[in-house]
Symmetry: C2
Subunit: 345 residues, 2 copies
């Protein structure tokens, strides 16, 4: 049996070219072992989708299916699955080793999956997993902030790139944890969005960030989450970070870092990559548990959806190219999701 | 009133020169506010002593007094001291803002001080503070290992430079926390010393460390403590560190670090500098509390002294020059301490 999907066989071509993402047919996958089979209702887009596509220089025989966020219904389960049953409405981000969510049906390891929050529509749910897990791991694993409401009262966090996907959910989680939040933004609409997500203050990243933060009355910040241009902002972060503070970055670098700048303050610098756990087969089930905690926070109205752009007219190549193009502009706010029928358009 | 001390007015001269460290007389200090006045019985030496001396290029008018480890008797207390009383036997490392321990009497902030472990002689106590606090902060603060016996059972730590001061007490603390310990060494005597401190395995840093660790059966290690040549060992550490692992370094760098090597594994890199808390006036009292915990572990015979060289014939310029010379050789094992009268010799 064949199913509909959207993929590419050659990646590094313009998203305006129809060949950049194509409607394809692939074999219906079979759920085995700890995998569940999910009928996909809506998918979320992330910068990693466009990165992988553009960095794929070799033409492949079979199409590569992208997509690292999905919500859907469990259609079938592998023989060792214990967490889910047919009919469950679930959500997950996924893993590099799995074929992506841009397909009618997708396999996923049960450890990475959680029951979706009932309170949210499919579109809103699809915007949560990758950025939600990433922000959670930054705050509550890498920065070691206790996962408890108001646990970090009195402390301050700076988001470099507050209006992006990780920033949008990260600001909310940080506020829930009691932190004072400062976010960088520049345009009026990103500034408004950061405030809407709960930021106490915003600073303009096109001006001197250190000066602006100091003018707000903060000599230092206890935590910094970098989700844009790590090298570019490293010295700024080194100057602003508090003694014994934490800098966590999710953005890869192309140069060595002047780590000595943060030595005298005994600062911790941590990398966060959501894919690490699955790539190295460690703590797999923790990501399903993180999503379950996020579900709970949504149900309790502690968090709100970060989805800004919903394309609901079908999960097809046309709409996914449009979504990729939005992300490639670098100006997306919050999350972009695509839903509807797999109609091959 | 004048007291005896050992200091220098010009630092960057050979330790073989009598002017490198001289017997001097300084004013008797007065305990105010939260400071206690301690009559010094024994002092520990650390690489930081020789570093500060050699990096002091300007000749000063009044002598600089070094020394960051001491045990002694409380002689007097400031009006806001609550932790100690006259006659208490105390120990501490100190802070850069305070005149050093190489003096008959020294002032110290009560927050940095603890009652000394009764079970240990003055010489053994003097070897504990700086390296003990440093190793504690590396393991139980920067690596977030729970401070509890056997809390990290099943995990592995690699000490780059196992036989140094921090390595010697660090290996013991790591074993107490349940870790499997691998330490780098090279000479027979440093290898034997690491084993004596409790290391399960040693590897020769003059050969390929990655290969040797793998041959021991460890694909990765969960924690790495670097106390020598951070740049030189960074790539080795990047290869050996486990996904989600922790690398902590106490050794300054002179080049930028290739941090991207540890990104895919979402590794945390933290700096540890014992002086940070006092330099930036944060969590001062935690260091006295750390020393109290270490006292307790010594009393319970969970830790043993790391002192290898005891010079007991007087705290004077001659003996301190000899101690500095030992440290400058780069071959010191464990700790060097000096005790006895301040006899001006």
């Amino acid at each position: 049996m064949k199913i509909k999907a959207i993929g590419f066989t050659q990646g590094n071509i313009s998203i305006d070219d129809e060949n950049s993402l194509q409607n394809v047919e692939i074999d219906m996958p079979m759920a085995k072992d700890k995998d569940i089979l999910v009928k996909v209702n809506a998918v979320g887009l992330n910068p990693v989708d466009t990165k992988i596509r553009r960095n794929s220089k070799e033409k492949t025989e079979s199409p590569r299916i992208l997509g690292f966020d999905a919500v859907g219904i469990v259609e079938n389960i592998g023989e060792n699955v214990t967490k889910f049953k047919k009919g469950d409405r679930v959500y997950y981000s996924g893993a590099l080793a799995y074929s992506g969510s841009n397909a009618q049906y997708q396999l996923m390891h049960e450890g990475l999956v959680s029951i979706a929050p009932e309170i949210l529509s499919d579109n809103c749910v699809a915007g949560v997993p990758l950025t939600g897990i990433t922000a959670y791991e930054c705050l509550f694993e890498k920065m070691h902030i206790p996962f408890e409401k108001n646990s970090a009262k009195g402390k301050t966090i700076l988001f470099i790139n507050g209006a992006g996907g990780v920033g949008s959910i990260g600001i909310q989680l940080a506020k829930w944890a009691g932190l004072t939040v400062i976010a960088t933004s520049s345009r009026q609409e990103t500034t408004d969005w950061c405030k809407k997500m709960g930021a106490d203050h915003t600073v303009d990243y096109k001006k001197n960030i250190v000066e602006q933060v100091r003018e707000l009355g903060f000599e230092n910040v206890d935590y910094i989450l970098i989700s844009h241009s790590t090298e570019k902002y490293f010295e700024t972060c080194a100057e602003l970070i508090a003694p014994l503070g934490y800098i966590v970055s999710i953005e890869e670098i192309y140069e060595n870092l002047p780590m000595d700048l943060i030595r005298r303050k005994s600062v911790t610098f941590a990398w966060e990559l959501m894919f690490t756990k699955h790539l190295f087969n460690t703590e797999i089930y923790s990501q399903g548990e993180i999503l379950a905690k996020l579900s709970n926070l949504f149900e309790n109205k502690e968090l709100v959806s970060t989805v800004v752009a919903e394309i609901t007219t079908g999960i097809n190549a046309t709409n996914l190219r449009a979504a990729h193009k939005m992300l490639e502009s670098g100006k997306t706010i919050g999350k972009v999701v695509v839903s509807g029928e797999f109609d091959g358009k």
